[in-house]
């Protein structure tokens, strides 16, 4: 159905007679004479001519729009990353040690980190969430503040200027969860540079780490994005349509990536592409020729300024190839795990919001919480949320310990996609009509929670 070509991103055949391929209509739809007349009338009604003739009050137009007329720009001409280091294996932190005991208590360091981030989420992130959703952008002050609490360097080895002394997947999971209790969209915006820094730390060569990581451990942390998704139905990250061809002393990339966080601001991308039949990661600097960023506002996560990254004959040097094919697969998994943690955080936000609401809201002379149909919905949110949390923690702890975790991550993803969405739905339902309006944040969480199971990449633990 949809096309992935660079020239025509998602332009589908369209004619007056055939309605399909636009506006959510399938190709099976046909226009009859009345339909044709209505379609023509609609075109006139939406024409700018009416406005220029003063026939209609000019309506406000936002810059960042859902239509194809949204912005389209070249990649951010950011800093140059001075080459350094050698093409040998980079610095690696060791796996965490297992005590052999079942334990649900975070380590002291993890708890401290989660507390700090949780406070940040409540005091800085949550108050900024509604405006950021409207603006489709994260406020600069919040992004700056997120650097101060060390978000980008959580997964970077201590020896390279970061704070990780061992594999930080569990700490990362707790941080993602805590931040998402504030707002998922802003969390994704703030965590995106850290995803790239973590990828460089986990799979980078000495040269890649020496070239790119200093930017993330310094004061001016660049916007950066881990771009794995593509805008096709049934997208399978293990077989990306974006391709890389070895050419000369490097590679040439072609394709379209979607769900790219703050694409227009990003100075560095880690992009998934197929090379010789295997999925691989490539480091792409935003200043490269052939890069176009298109705004791609979506149902939710609006504060993350989701974009498409269009790669047309983008030439990169040999240094661009990050890790091997199995590292790519790990990247997909660890990213899915990070999304699960975000789902748990947002699910907790829903639970914490509806709990006092149903006790205060009265109907038929008593709080609606006194009715089992309402109370049981809240109970089920609590039960499923804790299940999501434990399954996610188990996967994260296995990753931290260096144990195989593909099964656990897959199960966490299935559970969080399914049950997380249900929590979003029930959150709105419990507030009734009030849940449907933007006066309350539950409608935003509902939209955000649909991202789980849809998004690949963007965040990483």
């Amino acid at each position: 159905m949809s096309s992935n070509s660079v020239n025509e991103p998602l332009k589908l055949p369209w004619s007056l007679l055939r309605a399909g391929g636009r506006h959510g209509l399938s190709d099976a739809e046909k226009r009859d004479p009345i339909g044709l007349a209505v379609a023509a009338l609609n075109r006139i009604a939406s024409s700018d001519l009416l406005d220029s003739l003063g026939l209609r009050k000019a309506s406000e137009r936002s810059v960042y729009r859902v239509t194809s007329a949204g912005f389209r720009t070249a990649g951010n001409v950011g800093r140059t990353f001075a080459r350094a280091g050698r093409a040998t294996q980079g610095n690696r932190v060791p796996a965490t040690r297992n005590t052999g005991l079942f334990d649900l208590t975070p380590s002291e360091d993890e708890q401290m980190l989660a507390d700090v981030v949780g406070e940040f989420a409540q005091e800085v992130v949550r108050p900024a969430a509604s405006d950021a959703n409207e603006a489709c952008a994260a406020p600069q002050e919040m992004l700056k503040a997120s650097l101060e609490i060390g978000l980008p360097i959580l997964g970077v080895p201590e020896e390279l200027g970061g704070i990780a002394t061992e594999r930080s997947a569990m700490a990362g999971t707790l941080v993602h969860e805590a931040l998402a209790t504030g707002d998922m969209g802003l969390a994704v915006a703030a965590l995106s540079p850290g995803a790239v820094a973590t990828a460089l730390s986990l799979w980078g060569t000495d040269e890649q780490q020496s070239t790119y990581l200093p930017a993330f451990t310094g004061d001016e942390v660049p916007a950066a994005a881990l771009a794995l998704s593509e805008p096709t139905a049934l997208f399978d990250p293990t077989t990306p349509a974006t391709v890389a061809l070895a050419q000369g002393n490097g590679y040439v990339l072609n394709g379209v990536k979607s769900g790219v966080v703050r694409g227009a601001d990003a100075e560095l991308f880690v992009v998934g592409a197929e090379l010789d039949g295997k999925p691989r990661l490539f480091i792409v600097e935003s200043s490269a020729d052939g890069i176009t960023i298109e705004s791609d506002p979506s149902m939710g996560l609006r504060a993350a300024s989701l974009s498409r990254l269009v790669l047309k004959d983008v030439a990169v040097e040999r240094i661009a190839l990050l890790g091997d094919a199995s590292d790519y697969l790990e990247c997909v998994r660890f990213s899915r795990l990070a999304w699960c943690a975000l789902a748990v955080g947002t699910g907790q936000a829903v639970l914490d919001y509806v709990t006092p609401y149903v006790k205060e809201r009265h109907a038929f002379g008593e709080p609606i919480a006194h009715r089992q149909s309402v109370a049981f919905m809240v109970a089920n949110i609590a039960i499923e949320l804790q299940g999501m949390r434990l399954v996610t923690y188990k996967a994260a702890s296995r990753v931290a310990q260096g144990l195989p975790a593909e099964r656990e991550i897959a199960l966490a993803r299935r559970l969080c996609a399914e049950r997380g969405m249900q929590i979003g739905l029930d959150g709105v339902q419990l507030l009734g009509g009030h849940g449907f309006v933007k006066e309350h944040p539950v409608e935003r969480w509902y939209r955000d929670l649909r991202a789980i199971g849809v998004m690949e990449g963007a965040v990483l633990v």
Partner: protein, 404 residues
């Protein structure tokens, strides 16, 4: 440090339980499903073996053993993995073998759990080694166990019990029955006490055995108490009616037994998942953990969903047991585990029958049996709805008067 793997020191016990389940329970599973009400004599040998293991200190309880929070302060500080975790993990394995047979295990009755939970030290010693069934439910009283009609009247050094109890698991086979009765109906739930009644008591009579949908290896009795005289020292715990403490004492048993029942559902469902995975694999279905579920066959996608729900129930169960081991109040978590495991158990076992088609529906295999056995686990020790009620009250901070 967060770690949700099976504890190293409990792994040998789990392996042992798995071998017992595989080599002792599975071979007789269908036999006693068909021969309802006949005593699984094989279990006597097994019980003797388990006793031997327990005495040697090699296990922390291999069956539905009692779980107890010691009053004595622990010497060891920090994270504990103790009898509660060991119990749920071994019960999962045994129920992977057969839920009905696990429930029929001599000296491992739910009454033993009650004794372990509320009896004083002297009683613990006196009742050690007894096989105790549990009698709570009455014809007119199911989930609202505070509404018990069976009476206990003090007469000298004895209590005199009168009433009818139903759904008493192992009620015919056990050595004794822990009976819940009220000392004074007008004082409500705080007057409800439990009594250990020995099998040879002439005032106690097993009326009949039920014919059931599942767990047919386990006998389920209707028991009549007619002027049944019980020594006063066989009242478990304190004879005082403490209106402040209310129902809490009696209900404390449930905090300990609910994780066990959740573990039963987890074990039974895993039996279904294990077999179904093999059946699907033989049928050419590939279950891939990395590929999106929607890009796989519907059967594989369904399986992934079931396994994800199973994993959640499994970990909620371990959480509630771990909290008990570490003496954290776990009433809500126990109910969460029971609610999730109960509904997961039905969903998983019934879906697995569906996935396996008429092969799964047939008595040739055990899938259909697990589809029947699992249902009771969402009912006894508090139905799905009771668990939701408990969780809701806790989460919302509402009393039982506010949220009825």
């Amino acid at each position: 440090m967060i770690n949700l793997e099976t504890p190293k020191k409990i792994r040998p016990l789990v392996d042992q339980a798995h071998q017992v389940a595989m080599n002792m329970l599975r071979p007789i599973s269908r036999k006693y499903d068909e021969a309802e009400h006949s005593y699984p004599k094989e279990l006597d040998m097994l019980a003797a073996m388990i006793d031997g293991i327990s005495e040697s200190g090699a296990t922390g309880g291999a069956g539905a053993a009692g779980v107890r929070r010691d009053e004595k302060p622990e010497e060891k500080k920090g994270n504990k993995n103790g009898a509660n975790l060991a119990s749920v993990l071994s019960i999962m394995e045994m129920c992977w073998g057969d839920v009905g047979l696990l429930l029929s295990m001599p000296r491992q009755g739910l009454g033993n759990s009650a004794i372990a939970s509320v009896a004083n030290d002297e009683q613990q010693e006196r009742f050690a080694g007894t096989w105790a069934a549990m009698a709570i439910t009455e014809p007119g009283t199911g989930s609202d166990s505070a509404n018990i009609q069976t009476t206990a009247r003090k007469d000298g050094d004895e209590y005199v019990l009168n009433g009818e109890k139903i759904y008493v698991t192992s009620g015919d086979r056990a050595d004794s029955v822990v009976v819940w009765a009220t000392l004074d109906k007008s004082l409500g739930r705080s007057a409800i006490k439990s009594f250990v009644v020995k099998k040879d008591n002439p005032g106690m009579r097993v009326e009949r055995l039920e014919h059931k949908l599942g767990i047919r290896a386990s006998d389920t009795a209707v028991i009549m108490f007619t002027d049944c005289r019980v020594p006063a020292e066989d009242l478990l715990g304190s004879p005082e009616i403490d209106t402040k403490q209310g129902f809490a004492g009696a209900m404390a048993t449930f905090d300990n037994t609910r994780p066990l029942v959740a573990a039963m559902a987890v074990g039974c469902a895993r039996a279904s998942l294990d077999l179904t995975r093999e059946i699907l694999t033989e049928a050419g279905v590939v279950i891939d953990y990395d590929k999106p579920a929607f890009s796989q066959s519907a059967a594989a996608a369904t399986f992934l969903q079931l396994e994800a729900d199973w994993e959640a129930a499994y970990l909620l169960t371990l959480q509630s047991a771990w909290m008990a081991d570490n003496r954290k109040p776990n009433s809500m978590q126990a109910s969460m585990a029971k609610a999730k495991a109960g509904r997961m158990g039905s969903d998983v076992t019934l879906r697995c029958v569906e996935l396996a088609g008429t092969f799964g529906y047939s008595e040739v295999e055990l899938l259909e049996k697990w589809g029947r056995d699992s249902k009771i686990l969402d009912i006894f020790e508090g139905t799905q709805q009771i668990q939701q009620l408990i969780v809701a009250r806790r989460v919302l901070g509402l009393s039982s008067a506010e949220l009825k």
